[in-house]
């Protein structure tokens, strides 16, 4: 994805580390419903499967856009980070 995630304005962060599928997506979906249209939610997960799941969800769902995804290594754990924007 070509978006520069470091300059992206994030409206809210959602920490779902430690949660397993399907909870990262369930929680993200609840959270983004409380944001305004155009806002960006940053979701921080430790579930590797969430990478593909957020891609599939964003493709299927009309109200969100997956702006980007990244990985970070913190304390030997890999974090899978998803940036999603509410479209409508």
């Amino acid at each position: 994805m070509s978006v520069d995630l470091s300059t992206l304005t994030v409206t809210r962060e959602l920490d779902v580390t430690g949660l397993k599928c399907p909870m990262p997506l369930v929680k993200a979906r609840q959270e983004i419903a409380s944001l305004a249209i155009g806002d960006v939610l940053k979701v921080i997960s430790t579930d590797r499967g969430s990478v593909k799941d957020f891609q599939g969800w964003a493709k299927a769902a009309t109200q969100v856009e997956l702006v980007g995804q990244s990985e970070e290594s913190v304390d030997g754990k890999t974090l899978y980070i998803h940036f999603i924007r509410r479209l409508r």
Binding site: K20, C21, P22, M23, L25, V26, R29, R48, G49, K52, D53, Q55, G56, W57, A60, A61
Partner: protein, 405 residues
């Protein structure tokens, strides 16, 4: 894996309508007979396309990613309801059992009899079915079938001594099985350095003191050209072992790999068995290109199949392969075997006029090579040590060791 063979029950379906979850053994038994239930796979599209649940009798399978149940539950449930008239039960499957548990619960809320497959495809991929092939007083042969991947390993027991050929990833299961049979592991034999699955051979040798054998040509990585970093004993062509009343002879059968061997096991009753690894399968044979040199190795496969297998292996021997592509390759008892003299006639991929036409056909029908196969070979010769999650990912999907078509 329980002590002894997996029992085949027929009670599964009636229970299915009442239970909220089933384990992999129950699913395995359901798939061995015609049962009318719906498989609902809720993984991502690409995961579903890569690998799905199959059995001797694969039920109708519906694919609806779980997030569609989050987005528009009514529509997703209606699609399932359309396929489940008259209380037809549903088994819901995902990668690890979490999302499918969620979906199954939602479906039950709509009065659909849905059960979750516990542990999902990861557990399904790790399920081993153990079945006896021969159980005589003086020797026994058992098939260990990793059903989701089409990988087969073989256990021979005679007079309290045991040999395992091509052990799969979880050594503890073999040891539990052997202790139930009061047999001591003596020989661990790999027909070759595998590319599609992780061998527990070296680990088992360390844990038990039994000897682990591999041909030295396979103890070098075919891409990296780096030698193995693990303890092993070298196999040589013609090398013989005794296992109780059985004799095991090593026959060098290169082609799939340069160091592939087959093991010809001769029993006192005159029976013979040939563990072919990735040389001959029931419906196909091993591809020559997983070492990156298909054009050079395809003619070697020809010489092995139509030379060595005709002259060095008793033609009445039961072929015991390392893989299958479809459960329909098994006999009525679920064992993947045929006598070699029948295989020449019945394996339709063995009918070639000459070597050039064989090589031409092989090189024209090479299947996709999963990129992780290079890494799995590193693991199997001690060059790489993945953690459990990485190992699970490396082993994802069905084996693609046979030639296509």
């Amino acid at each position: 894996m329980v002590d002894g063979a997996v029992s085949v029950t027929t009670a599964g379906l009636s229970e299915l309508g009442k239970t909220t979850e089933i384990d992999t053994e129950t699913l395995y038994n359901l798939l061995r007979q015609p049962h009318d239930f719906l498989l609902l796979d809720v993984r991502n599209e690409d995961e579903f396309q890569l690998w799905r649940i199959e059995g001797t009798y694969t039920p109708e399978t519906l694919h609806i990613p779980y997030f569609l149940f989050l987005e528009d539950e009514a529509t997703a449930v209606a699609r399932v309801a359309a396929q489940t008239p008259a209380g037809r039960p549903v088994v819901v499957v995902c990668a690890k059992g979490g999302a499918s548990d969620y979906v199954a619960e939602r479906l039950r809320g709509h009065n659909i009899a849905a059960a979750n497959l516990m542990g999902g495809m990861v557990e399904w991929g790790d399920f081993y079915a153990v079945q006896p092939m021969v159980e005589r007083p003086d020797y026994q042969v058992y098939q260990v079938d990793r059903v989701a991947r089409g990988c087969v390993s073989w256990i021979f027991i005679s007079q309290g001594e045991a040999a395992i050929v091509d052990p799969l990833r979880y050594g503890r299961r073999y040891l539990d099985f052997l202790s139930g049979k009061q047999a001591q592991l003596k020989l661990i034999l790999d027909t070759h350095a595998h590319a599609d699955h992780i061998s527990t051979g070296p680990e088992l040798a360390q844990a038990t003191g039994a000897a682990y054998y591999l041909h030295p040509y396979d103890a070098i990585h075919p891409f990296d050209m780096v030698p193995a970093q693990m303890a092993y004993h070298m196999l040589t062509d013609g090398q013989r072992f005794r296992l109780g009343a059985l004799t095991i002879e090593t026959v060098h059968t290169p082609g799939h790999t340069l160091g592939q061997v087959n093991f010809v096991v001769t029993a006192p009753d005159g029976e013979a068995f040939c563990c072919t690894g990735d040389n001959l399968f029931i419906e196909s044979f091993g591809r020559p290109d997983l070492g990156g040199q298909g054009e050079r190795w395809a003619p070697i496969v020809y010489d092995t199949i139509f030379g060595i297998m005709k002259t060095r292996v008793p033609q009445h021997a039961w072929i015991l392969p390392g893989h299958y592509a479809s459960p329909h390759e098994a006999n009525a008892e679920g064992i993947y075997t045929k006598r070699l003299h029948d295989l020449w006639r019945e394996n339709r991929s063995l009918h070639f006029a000459d070597k050039p036409s064989f090589v031409r056909y092989v090189l024209g029908h090479l299947p996709y090579m999963p990129p992780q196969y290079v890494e799995i070979k590193r693991v199997n010769i001690g060059l790489s040590h993945p953690d459990v999650d990485t190992a699970d990912e490396l082993e994802l999907g069905k084996n693609i060791c046979a030639l296509a078509g």
